[in-house]
């Protein structure tokens, strides 16, 4: 029978060590071994984006990453976006624009939005649409999410 292995990875700036099966999903390592339950499971198929995190600077679906492939990696989850109590501009914009309704897609959506603006600081609305197309939302119809991202791109707003 396959054994567990010990992995180290950096999560939200903190070096973490975990004993896990090499094929355990990164999503489960984050949620269960590390107690970081902000990242969600919506489908287990890599379709909904609720499990989206940053892995070595790239946006990925954590439900599709075996733990072994995350060894020595740098991971950022939704819990790593705020600076203590101070929300990131994107988090603040999501609040003021009502871009989060039930909130289940929100952690993944925030990761995708932050990644989009890092790569493309001045996207038009169609580019934002395309950039978020891997994150499904059932509540909002996306309009207010796009509004929030565009507002941040324009440099608007602070803490709500």
């Amino acid at each position: 029978m396959a054994e567990t292995i010990t992995l180290t990875l950096t999560v939200n700036g903190v070096l973490r060590t975990v004993d896990t099966h090499p094929m355990a999903r990164l999503l489960d390592v984050l949620r269960e071994d590390m107690g970081l339950t902000g990242t969600k499971e919506g489908c287990g198929e890599g379709e909904c984006g609720a499990c989206t995190v940053l892995l070595d600077g790239r946006l990925v679906n954590s439900c599709l990453i075996p733990a072994l492939q995350a060894r020595d990696a740098v991971v950022v989850t939704v819990e790593g976006l705020a600076d203590g109590d101070r929300l990131s501009p994107m988090q603040a914009a999501f609040l003021t624009h009502n871009a989060a309704q039930c909130g289940f897609c929100t952690p993944g959506m925030l990761m995708a939005a932050e990644d989009l603006l890092r790569r493309s600081p001045n996207p038009d609305r169609e580019q934002v649409r395309a950039g978020l197309a891997g994150n499904l939302c059932r509540c909002t119809g996306y309009s207010k999410i796009l509004d929030a991202v565009q507002a941040v791109a324009r440099g608007e707003g602070g803490q709500p």
């Binding site: 499971e41 919506g42 909130g103 059932r138 996306y142």
Partner: protein, 746 residues
């Protein structure tokens, strides 16, 4: 306060990832539950065997034999068991038979595949036609779960005398709610000496529905059952009645094992096994005179309810009442039936029967217009309801209704006529892309039908706490619609304090009264009104006891609360639903005031179709509605945009494919909901017309946006493509191709 776009209170936890949904709970010693399902559409359960491959001695097993109380889920009709007993009938292929639990989720999953069921298979009924034909009867005497007749005037006579009678048949498929968070439940039991106490916490819309179901399952009095509503990752009706079932399952496992239990469905199981929107088939015969005046409607409305009754009677009721649309019509007959099939039971999904019947009538009005040689907008204008008219159930329209104005506003949002003319020119060229515009006019009844609210006699309250804040005591649940915030706005306004001074108490049946289920677009209008009364009552108590003098500051309110608690003890004030003495409803003949009021809307769409691939793009969309007073414009706009997105998905892409009664496309890769790249900007406008009933004149809006998109889109497709048989939802590219070729071949 009312009318302000206050930021959502629970929003911060959501953007920080700290909001706790059910599966985020860490429970010591928890077991993970799994449900073993029938896998065959109909049969008799002979027994089951446990195959080797997992440590069965470590696994908790629950069967129907373990049920202490009634093996029936408390509902309108208690015909659905929690678990099929040995010797019992399997009525659909996802039916729960057995429950398993183990501390390791993947051991429990492996064990699920190692339970072999011995089933004597029986023939099944798989669609509406087979059910109506009654070659095989699987329910009652003729497969009918519920039948409703609505009769106004004499439709037969009026049709016989009509210059033009136009017939049509319209179908809609099932739709999956696709909340991002699958169904999730936790349960634990405790013993108080010999007395059992059961507690569940989970993703559920209606804590008191679950409370009642558990009371009956365990034969317990209400005080020994506790239901807590957790943060929900979406619901839309999909967590309205289903949670009674999985709460019962989780609790049974907790009882058998003595350990807390988590029962979390994965997406595949959730899609296949839980409730969906009812598929429908509607036949309409509409009679007109030569001037396009609507004289009569004869409507045959059938819903596929699946294997058990569940909510079919009320879904059918709403669908039937909305079937005649927003039109003035003196002679109407509506025959509505919900029939049984050997498929997983259908349930609530935003709209609740109205999207199905409104799709049919709004598509048919367009068809009739073309048949009469009239413009679809003008045919509608001639026949829309006005003050003083009556609906199909004879409800008098008492408000100053201007549906023509609503239609004009929606058209103005899209520059409808100009677009239509420009499209006609482009379509006449040889462009591969065809374009069109279409609209739908509709209404949605707010709150429960007829005497439903009076029957429920909902109670809600407010409590002033030691720190001077006020807690709202209501069983309404937050599923993203912003109900927490809206309630706080309403109470804050009634008390004259800032909204920051008002909070929602946890939705826990140990602490809050039964303010009714979070359904039927009733929360703002009905429960909000009750809370308004309760808040005014609290204010009065403080004033009458000399503790508070108007006008007062928030600080003075806080001081008054502290003094009041010291003098009077707990400061709680409840309100109860007050029925309108003028409203009357005959539930036997389906006549009278079906709803306290209606919200009204017109939605307009612009579409393009690529004739190479028959893919449809929604180019523009306008949603204009009259909903009384808008309590929180930002939240209300969000509700409309989200509902429109779901309606567009239903109209164009969301197909549930059944094979032998099971959902075959139960993966997100094969059940297609819109991504951000698939939708246009959704324009939203509210026309305000303060109505009776709701706080500040608010009406319901949650479900309204579901009713308009599908007919507006298919009417737009007709404009784009010409005289095609556009009679079915979803109108997928495959179907458009078929209809296109049908029309080409003459």
């Amino acid at each position: 306060m009312i009318g302000a776009s206050t930021i959502r209170k629970e929003g911060r936890g959501k953007v920080m990832g700290t909001a706790q949904y059910t599966d985020d709970l860490a429970l010591d010693g928890v077991l993970h539950g799994m449900t073993v399902r029938a896998r065959c559409a109909r049969g008799v359960l002979k027994g089951f065997r446990f195959l080797p491959g997992v440590p069965w001695d470590e696994i908790t097993v629950v069967t129907a034999a373990d049920i202490p109380g009634r093996n029936a889920v408390a509902s309108i009709v208690d015909d659905q068991p929690f678990l099929v007993p040995v010797g019992g009938t399997i009525a659909h292929p996802e039916q729960p038979v057995l429950l398993l639990a183990h501390p390791d989720r993947c051991v429990a999953e492996k064990a699920r595949a190692l339970v072999a069921l011995d089933v004597e298979e029986l023939p099944a009924v798989l669609d509406i036609q087979a059910s109506l034909d009654c070659a095989l009867v699987i329910h009652g005497t003729r497969n009918v779960l519920k039948e409703i007749h609505i009769d106004k005037g004499d439709a037969d006579r009026a049709l016989a005398g009509a210059a033009h009678v136009i017939e049509g048949e319209y179908r809609t498929g099932a739709q999956e709610q696709l909340y991002l968070e699958p169904n999730a439940m936790t349960a634990s039991v405790a013993w108080d000496g010999p007395d059992l106490r059961v507690a569940v916490a989970g993703s559920l819309q209606c804590p008191y529905y679950v409370h009642e179901a558990l009371k009956q399952l365990f034969a317990l009095p209400g005080e020994r059952v506790r239901v807590v509503a957790m943060e929900m990752g979406g619901a839309f009706g999909g967590k309205e009645d289903y949670p009674s079932l999985n709460a019962g399952h989780a609790a049974l496992l907790a009882l058998k094992s003595g350990r807390p239990v988590k029962l979390i469905y994965d997406r595949e199981e959730d899609m296949a096994a839980t409730t969906k929107r009812h598929p429908s088939r509607t036949r309409i015969r509409a009679g007109f005179d030569d001037a396009g005046l609507l004289l009569a409607l004869d409507i045959d409305f059938v819903l596929d309810g699946g294997a058990y009754t569940t909510l079919s009677p009320v879904v059918l009721s709403r669908g039937a009442i909305h079937a005649a649309g927003p039109y003035r019509c003196p002679d109407v007959r509506i025959l509505a039936r919900a029939v049984a099939t050997s498929t997983p039971p259908c349930g609530a999904f935003r709209g609740f029967g109205a999207p199905q019947s409104l799709f049919a009538i709004e598509r048919h009005m367009d068809v009739c217009a073309r048949a009469l040689g009239m413009d679809p907008v003008e045919l509608r204008r001639r026949n829309l309801l006005r003050m003083g008219d009556t609906t199909a159930t004879g409800q008098l329209i008492r408000e100053d209704l201007d549906l023509g104005g609503l239609m004009d506003r929606a058209m103005a949002e899209l520059d409808y006529r100009a677009l239509q003319r420009a499209y006609a020119v482009r379509n006449a060229g040889c462009d591969r892309i065809r374009r069109g515009v279409g609209l739908a006019v509709f209404m949605h009844g707010c709150g429960f039908t007829g005497g439903g609210e009076a029957h429920m006699a909902s109670v809600a309250g407010v409590e002033a706490l030691a720190d001077g804040t006020v807690a709202i005591l209501a069983a309404s649940t937050e599923m993203g619609q912003g109900k927490n915030t809206v309630f706080c706005q309403i109470v804050a306004e009634a008390l004259g304090v800032p909204v920051e001074q008002v909070e929602m108490a946890a939705v826990d049946t140990d602490q809050v009264p039964n303010s009714g289920p979070t359904v039927a677009s009733r929360s703002t209008m009905m429960v909000g009104r009750i809370l308004e009364d309760a808040a005014r009552g609290l204010r009065q108590v403080l004033v009458q006891n000399g503790l508070l003098r108007e006008p007062y500051t928030p600080g003075e309110f806080r001081a008054a609360v502290a003094a009041g608690r010291a003098r009077l003890g707990a400061l709680r004030c409840y309100g109860q639903f007050r029925p309108n003495p003028e409203a009357s409803w005959d539930d036997v003949h389906y006549r009278g005031d079906a709803y306290p009021n209606f919200s009204w809307a017109c939605y307009a769409a612009a579409v393009s179709v690529d004739l190479a691939t028959f893919e449809v793009k929604v180019e523009d969309f306008a949603a204009v509605q009259e909903v009384g007073r808008v309590v929180n414009p930002t939240l209300a706009t969000g509700q409309i945009q989200g509902g429109v997105a779901q309606g567009i998905g239903w109209g164009l892409w969301e197909e549930v494919t059944f094979k032998a009664g099971r959902m075959a496309n139960n993966q997100l890769t094969n059940y297609i909901i819109p991504t951000s790249a698939d939708l246009p900007f959704i324009r939203v406008a509210f026309l305000e017309n303060a109505a009776q009933g709701g706080p500040g004149g608010a009406k319901g809006i949650g479900e309204l946006p579901m009713d308009g998109p599908a007919p507006a889109l298919l009417n737009a497709l007709r404009d784009a493509l010409g005289d095609l048989r556009l009679d079915e939802v979803p109108m997928t590219p495959d179907r458009i191709l078929n209809r296109w070729e049908e029309a080409q071949n003459g």
